[in-house]
Symmetry: C2
Subunit: 280 residues, 2 copies
């Protein structure tokens, strides 16, 4: 009975996919979508991603067994703290933010006693956004990182992990800080580099940008309102990752300035091996 | 009758696609594939990309109306110079190298009188290589940059342009140096960045590399034996492009160190606009 009502706060690509997956897989009997814009919620309702809608956060979560916040990372902590007192006694709260440490510490400082919370982050999504791109299989065989802190109740971790598993995901556990450092390399640095590359393109050359340029810059199409707060919340790790990429770029620069074909070949061969070892 | 025999030197992804497209579109009555490895040529023959094969470069080009060199950029100039004397009187030679200035200047210094040559570069291809990935529509609606120099015979430019048009391509004319500078931004810098990013990934984090990392590093799977010479031949322009990306990275670094959400948002919004303006 525990997962009979699922409330999703923020019904975009991720939130909408959670709703659709939960309905298809009968993980919840009832899915409530909460958002700020009535029109957006009605689109998600029409798409069949959720069963009921409300713009009233408190009312939306009152009956939920599980509440998932899928809002931008700069809003999550405040929304959780504000609404936690309205949660039922056996509710568990999680979020899907791409950064974890800042959110989790802010929540834990002010979470009422007895409210179950643990952070999570599904490594799924795309440069697209909006409920129209929701996909019931978005989490199938994908990693969801669940990030218990030292203050997290084991029951919260267990129930949130079980929820994601039912949506098809594989669970990895990491401390919030370790998560953020990992993401600075695998997600936030690529986003920053892709954006810097897009910004460096002389406008008159855009018609020559073929598939290589398009692939390399694809993630730069992500929504800046979501990504600026992500980069900001993870700025310490990201600045370290930037030093890492600077070191790598220096090796290439050195190969070019000294006309060392061998060095360039070795750097490219190393990169090819790394990339080929990742499936597609 | 002029294009009755087409000879392709180097039957990989690009050469194989030229052969297949020329046969399907009846641009040539007979397509000869030339290569170093008999076994590779036999694969291409079996795939129906070419009609005849030979490892003897001189013999392969003797009867050709048009010869296309699709070999690595560090081999093209020498191969053209060595074989040009064996070409028929009405033959025209081109190549598909991703760099142009160095090749064209080397060829022009030593090309026998009366041999027609102009460089070209189809902006098509992928991180894949080999004749198995040949595609008869690889050039359809793609740009082929044709790069006449001041010494190029107009007839060479006209005939090579016509050849590419028959394969479905759109022609853009650029001086060899202008081509190389453009490609440093649209193709060679992205390749270098993707490779540097792949090399910066801590190995223990590779399982967290999701679609964003994979897209951003996709081109790093390209063959280092093809790409090291490309980066090397275009090193002057590429070093300038690296300065450009450094400037862009500094702007992001500044946004992060000063915790300026507005600056980060503006940089990401600018990048999104650039990327969204390129079709898919």
């Amino acid at each position: 009975m525990r997962t009979s009502t699922l409330t999703i706060v923020g019904v975009g690509l991720i939130g909408g996919s959670i709703g659709l997956a939960a309905k298809r897989r009968r993980v919840a009997e009832r899915v409530i979508g909460v958002g700020r814009e009535q029109a957006d919620l009605e689109r998600a309702l029409k798409l069949g991603l959720i069963d009921e809608i409300t713009c009233d956060l408190q009312r939306g979560i009152a009956q939920a067994a599980i509440v998932v916040f899928c809002t931008p990372v700069n809003l999550i902590a405040e929304q959780i703290i504000r609404t936690a007192p309205a949660c039922g006694r056996d509710a568990v709260i999680t979020d899907t933010g791409s950064t974890k440490a800042q959110i989790i510490h802010a929540v834990e400082e002010r979470l009422p006693d007895g409210v179950l919370f643990v952070g999570s982050h599904p490594l799924a999504g795309s440069e697209k956004s909006g409920p129209e791109h929701a996909d019931a299989d978005l989490f199938q065989d994908r990693i969801v990182v669940v990030t218990p802190s030292q203050r997290t109740a084991p029951e919260a971790t267990a129930r949130v992990s079980e929820f994601w598993r039912k949506l098809g995901a594989r669970i990895e556990y990491m401390a919030p800080e370790a998560h953020d450092e990992a993401m600075s390399w695998t997600s936030h640095l690529p986003h920053l580099l892709a954006s810097a590359l897009a910004n460096s393109l002389p406008p008159e050359l855009s018609r020559f940008a073929a598939s290589g340029f398009r692939d390399t810059t694809r993630v730069a199409s992500g929504d800046p309102r979501l990504w600026a707060p992500i980069l900001m919340q993870n700025r310490t790790s990201l600045l370290s990752a930037l030093e890492g990429i600077d070191r790598q770029l220096s090796r290439f620069r050195s190969g070019l300035t000294t006309s060392s074909s061998d060095l360039l070949h070795d750097l490219l061969a190393q990169a090819k091996k790394v990339r080929d070892d990742l499936a597609s």
